[in-house]
């Protein structure tokens, strides 16, 4: 089933057209990777999927982005949208508070105050990202004392705590060492049974390893979107071939 349906999407930063006529359907419970050189529009597109671009001054969007059947740029509660569509950023950004409070923060803002319920959410979220055993004895310690890899998994747990349907990941491993990177990749593959994951990555091997489908972007245009295996073995467009084989430009 299609989780997102994007039709004729164009995005402008002032006079600059950052996204040009994007049309794509993103399948639910799959990992979709966005790749392309810097400035190609892949992160911009990711941010349109939970209206993060609303915060950018001079940003104008035309076309439609539907989550299930709902136009997310129509009349919609943006807070509710962001509960349904969580986001994990390039640099782990735990809040300067305890591990427990980092996870409980989202559910609390959505009205959950029962201690027992919060305890359950915190444990489940941390188990989902496989760091429960590592941190269960220091839940009240600051999250800032965790390693980079742990912090990023905490951020994913924080996103999971509000039970989203989609997780957007913007280069989630580019600041991590190879071991932490492989843990996040494994985690993403485990989570796709329950969530739709969309990941922006500069690491093409990562896209090839973990994603089901890959979209290649160039200068604001979606050049090619196909099954990852096909895109990396028999790309249809020469621009895709040149980029992924490192012969770009």
């Amino acid at each position: 089933m299609d989780k997102y349906t994007i039709e004729n999407l164009e995005l402008f930063y002032g006079d600059f057209k950052a996204l040009k006529n994007i049309n794509m359907k993103i399948q639910e419970k799959e990992i979709t990777a966005f790749i392309g050189p810097s400035g190609c529009g892949k992160s911009t597109l990711l941010k349109t999927l939970n209206r993060m671009n609303d915060l950018v001054e001079g940003c104008k969007i035309t076309g439609t982005v539907k989550l299930d059947d709902q136009d997310i740029y129509g009349k919609i509660d943006v807070n509710l949208l962001r509960k349904r569509v969580g986001m994990v950023f390039q640099k782990p950004n735990p809040f300067p508070m305890s591990i427990y409070d980092n996870i409980a923060y989202g559910p609390r803002t959505h009205g959950i105050h029962s201690k027992a319920k919060l305890n359950e959410i915190v444990e489940k979220s941390l188990r989902d990202v496989a760091i429960w055993d590592e941190v269960k004895d220091r839940l009240n310690k600051s999250a800032l004392g965790m390693s980079g890899g742990q912090q990023q998994r905490l951020c994913i747990a924080r996103a999971l705590a509000v039970e989203p349907e989609v997780i957007l990941m913007d280069e989630p491993t580019s600041a991590l060492d190879p071991i932490s990177t492989s843990k996040i990749e494994e985690l993403a593959m485990d989570l796709k049974d329950r969530y739709t994951i969309i990941i922006v990555t500069h690491n093409m091997q990562q896209a090839a390893r973990i994603s089901d489908k890959t979209a290649f972007f160039l200068l604001g245009e979606m050049v090619e979107f196909d099954k990852t295996e096909t895109l990396f073995s028999v790309p249809k467009d020469k621009r895709t071939e040149d980029y992924i084989t490192g012969r770009f430009g």
Partner: protein
Amino acid sequence: MRTRFDEQLEQLNMLLIDMGALCEEAINYAVGALNEGSEKMRKLTYETDKHIDDREREIENLCLKLLLQQQPVARDLRQISSALKMISDMERIGDQAEDIAEITESIKKPKEEICGDHISDMTKTAISMVTESVDSFVKKDLEIARAVIKKDDIVDQLFLEVKDDIISAVREDKTPGEYFVDILMIAKYLERISDHAVNVAEWVIFSLTGQHVNEELIEKERL
């Protein structure tokens, strides 16, 4: 741009050309041993087969190094994986040339030669198929690769003619039976060599198009 990688891919091409040339030599020496009964030709066949084995190992190592270091994708991945498959077929071509040379050690030629022309034609066609299959890889030429696949029919037909020649000769009871068996085996080895050249050509087509050549496609081309 990936200059160093492109240089390594060029090096891979050169090694494959070299291995292809060694395969041609091995077949020529083996058939030379058959025609001339020469010990020197036999030795050269065995030596060439060893060179082919060495070249296979060398190309295999280079491909593994490229996979490890360059993490190739798309056409690069197909080129390297096809090269890895092609060298197995080329190594078998060397083995079959060696097998032909081994038979010539004990073959007792009759006074009146049987099916010599057909064996000679099979040899020429098989050698040209080996040359052209490697050529198609290096030149990235789909048409040459397809032509190699078509040529296999010629060799198959020649093999049937060799068989018919032998059956006729047996009926006329001209020659000792051992010779017939030997010459039939040689013809079969030549036929297998052309099959390996077809495999090489099919890997070239995969390398260039990303699609495996299936029987259906070949049939369509033959019609």
